[in-house]
Symmetry: C2
Subunit: 346 residues, 2 copies
C-alpha cells in the first residue's frame, strides 16, 4: 500500500510530519510513502529513503487560504498533487495536517465520492470518558464537513460509521445513536424526527435511539450520527470545556501555594491518565468518510507521534478494506430508502 | 412585588421549594409569595406565613407529561394556576422547578409574549471558566426553547440578552457575539451568515463577531446569541464534559490508593473553587425572555439554596424593570429591520 503525504501542511511541517512518517515506515513494512513537498524544505530532512520518496512540488496552500479557490489555483501544491495521485491510482490514501478546508475540498473534488454517497461526513474517533464502562471510544460523524444536511445524509452517515466501527474499531454489531436535543423518541426538529424514524426502521442498523450532548462521552453507542452543524457545536464545546477545566485546575495549583503543588505531585498519575483519555493525539485524525479512498486530516498542531498514530489509522483502514465495504454496500446492496439517485453526481 | 410559585414542581418538591422560598422571603422584605400547591402537601410544610400564602390547587403536572396537552387539560394544576395569576396581574413573576416543557408552554400561551417578539428565548447565565479574566459570567440564549429559528429570532435574542446583561448583570455596554462554526466573519450556514450581517449592521448593538463553541466559556462576550438547536447542543456538551471530567478525577482518586487520596485532600480547595465556578446552583434559573413577565425555571434537582438564588434573580429582574425596558424597545423604539410585524400574533 502507498500513502500520499502532504509534507507541507501543519504547524510543525515539514519536520514533524517527516519524523512521524519515518516512524510509521519503520513500524509497517507494507507501507510505501510518497512525500509531496518542496525539494529544498523536505529533502534535507529525510533520514532514510527506504520505501519513502519525495515528489517535489512548488506551491503551498497556507492555513488561512480560501479552500476551494486554493485547490483550483494552486495545481502544484502538495495538497492538490497528493490528492491527484490518489485519484489516478498512484497512491491508496491521502494524509495531511494542513488547511482543513483545502483537504476536504481536495478530497471531495479530486479524490471523489463513492457512488451512492451524496455528502461525505467528517469522522472522528472520540474517547468514552466514563470510568464505569470498558468501552474506550466511539465513532462520531459529521463533525462539520456539511453546514447543512438532509435526512438522507444522516442515514448515509450511519452506514459510513457502522462500517468504520466494524472494520477499524472491531465492533461486531455497532450500536448506532442519533445526536438529538432529547433522549425520547419524539424529540428534535422535523429533520431529526424523520432521521430517527429512518434509522429505527432500517433492519440493517442496530439503532439504539437518541443521545443528548450531555451524554456524548458516556459510551451509549459505538457510532453517534449527527448533522455537521450541531455535531460541530457539540464537539467544539466538549473540547473547549475540557480545556477550560484543565486550565482552571492548573491555575488553582499554581496559585494554591506549596500545599496545592504537593497535592498536584501526588495526583499526577491521575491527571496523566485523564490527559491520555481526553488527549487528541491518541485518536488519530479526522477521516472524510464517503470518498473513494482514505482522506485523513490530523490536527494542525500534530507532532511526530500524532502523525505516526494517524498513519496507523490509515494502515488499518487499508488493511481492513473499510472503503471497499462501503462501495459494495452503496453500489450493490439495497440503498437506504431515501437516497435520491438523481443527485448522485450533483 | 409578588411572585407566583409552583410549589409542586421539582425532584425535591414541595419541601425544598418551600424552604428556599421562606429563606428568600426573610431576605427580601419587598417580596410577597403566592404558593400554588395541594393543601395537604404544602400547608404542613410552611413554617411562617408572613408575606406567604398558600393557594390550593388540586392537580399536578408530572415531569414526563406532554407539555402542551398538560397545560390545556390540567387547568387546576400549580403551573397553570400560577401562570394565570401572572397573566391576570395578580402576581408579577412565575417561578417553577417542574416540567420544563410545561413551564415554557404556560409562559408562552398563558403569560404571553411581548408585542414585537416572535419567539421568546430560553436564557441562562453561564460561568466564564477563564482564570485570566475577571469576567465571571455571560448571558446565553436561546438554550433550546426553539428547535427551529429564523434570522429575526436571533436578532431579537440579541436585544433580549443585551437588556438582561445591562439590568441584571450590570454590564453598561454588553459585548454581543454570535455562536457560529468558525470565528471568521464569513463562517456559518446561510442563516448564521445573514444574522452576522444584521447584528453587525445594527448601531444599537456592540457586536463583537462570531464565537466558536470551543471558546464559549472563555469570556469573549457578555451575551452569546445562538439558535436554540445548536445552543442546546453546545450547552449540553459543556455540562456533559464538565461532569465526565469530574467523574474521571473522582474515579482516579478513589482508585489511586492512599497517595491519590492525600493529593485530593491537599487539592480540595482547588476542586471546591472549580465546583463553585462550574456549579449550576449559583447561576439562578433559566429565564424565558420575551414574555410579559419573568417566567423562571430552575433545575428539577434544585434544593432550597438554588431556589433562594433563583428568587434573588427574579427579585433583580423586577427591581431593575428589565422587562419594561424590553417592552419599551420593541413597542416604541425602532424594531430590528427584519421583524415581520404581520406574524406577531401568529
Amino acid at each position: 500500500m502507498k500513502i500520499a503525504v502532504d509534507a507541507m501542511g501543519g504547524d510543525h511541517a515539514p519536520q514533524e510530519i517527516i519524523k512521524g512518517v519515518e516512524q510509521a515506515r519503520d513500524l509497517y513494512p507494507d507501507i510505501e510513502f510518497d512525500l509531496y513537498g518542496t525539494q529544498e524544505q523536505v529533502a534535507p530532512l529525510i533520514e532514510n529513503h527506504e520505501r519513502l520518496q519525495l515528489i517535489a512540488t512548488t506551491e503551498t496552500i497556507e492555513m488561512g487560504e480560501e479552500p476551494v479557490k486554493a485547490i483550483r489555483t494552486k495545481k502544484d501544491s502538495s495538497i492538490v498533487r497528493a490528492a491527484t495521485a490518489v485519484k489516478n491510482g498512484d497512491a491508496d490514501a491521502f494524509f495531511s495536517a494542513g488547511n482543513t478546508g483545502a483537504v476536504l475540498a481536495a478530497g471531495l473534488f479530486i479524490v471523489g465520492r463513492i457512488k451512492g454517497i451524496d455528502r461525505p461526513g467528517l469522522t472522528s474517533v472520540l474517547p468514552v470518558a466514563n470510568p464505569t464502562t470498558s468501552q474506550q471510544n466511539f465513532v462520531y460523524l459529521d463533525t462539520g464537513a456539511n453546514a447543512e444536511s438532509k435526512e438522507k445524509n444522516l442515514v448515509q452517515f450511519a452506514y459510513l460509521g457502522k462500517f468504520y466501527a466494524q472494520k477499524v474499531l472491531k465492533v461486531k454489531e455497532p450500536r448506532i445513536a442519533l445526536l438529538n436535543n432529547g433522549a425520547e423518541e419524539d424529540k428534535g426538529d422535523r429533520m431529526h424526527k424523520a432521521v430517527w424514524q429512518l434509522l429505527h426502521d432500517d433492519p440493517a442498523l442496530k439503532f439504539v435511539g437518541n443521545v443528548e450532548a450531555t451524554e456524548l462521552l458516556v459510551g451509549k453507542a459505538d457510532v453517534v450520527v449527527t448533522d455537521g452543524w450541531s455535531g460541530n457545536a457539540a464537539l467544539k464545546a466538549t473540547e473547549g470545556t475540557a480545556k477550560m477545566m484543565l486550565s482552571l485546575i492548573k491555575h488553582g495549583i499554581l496559585n494554591g501555594g506549596l500545599r496545592a503543588k504537593l497535592g498536584y505531585l501526588l495526583l499526577k498519575p491521575v491527571f496523566s491518565q485523564i490527559g491520555e483519555v481526553m488527549g487528541t493525539s491518541n485518536y488519530g485524525g479526522a477521516v472524510l468518510l464517503g470518498l473513494k479512498a482514505p482522506v485523513v486530516k490530523t490536527h494542525g498542531s500534530s507532532k511526530a507521534d500524532a502523525v505516526k498514530n494517524t498513519i496507523s489509522q490509515i494502515h488499518e483502514m487499508l488493511t481492513t478494506k473499510v472503503i471497499d465495504e462501503t462501495v459494495t454496500h452503496f453500489g450493490v446492496v439495497d440503498q437506504p430508502k431515501d437516497v435520491d439517485n438523481s443527485s448522485q453526481n450533483g
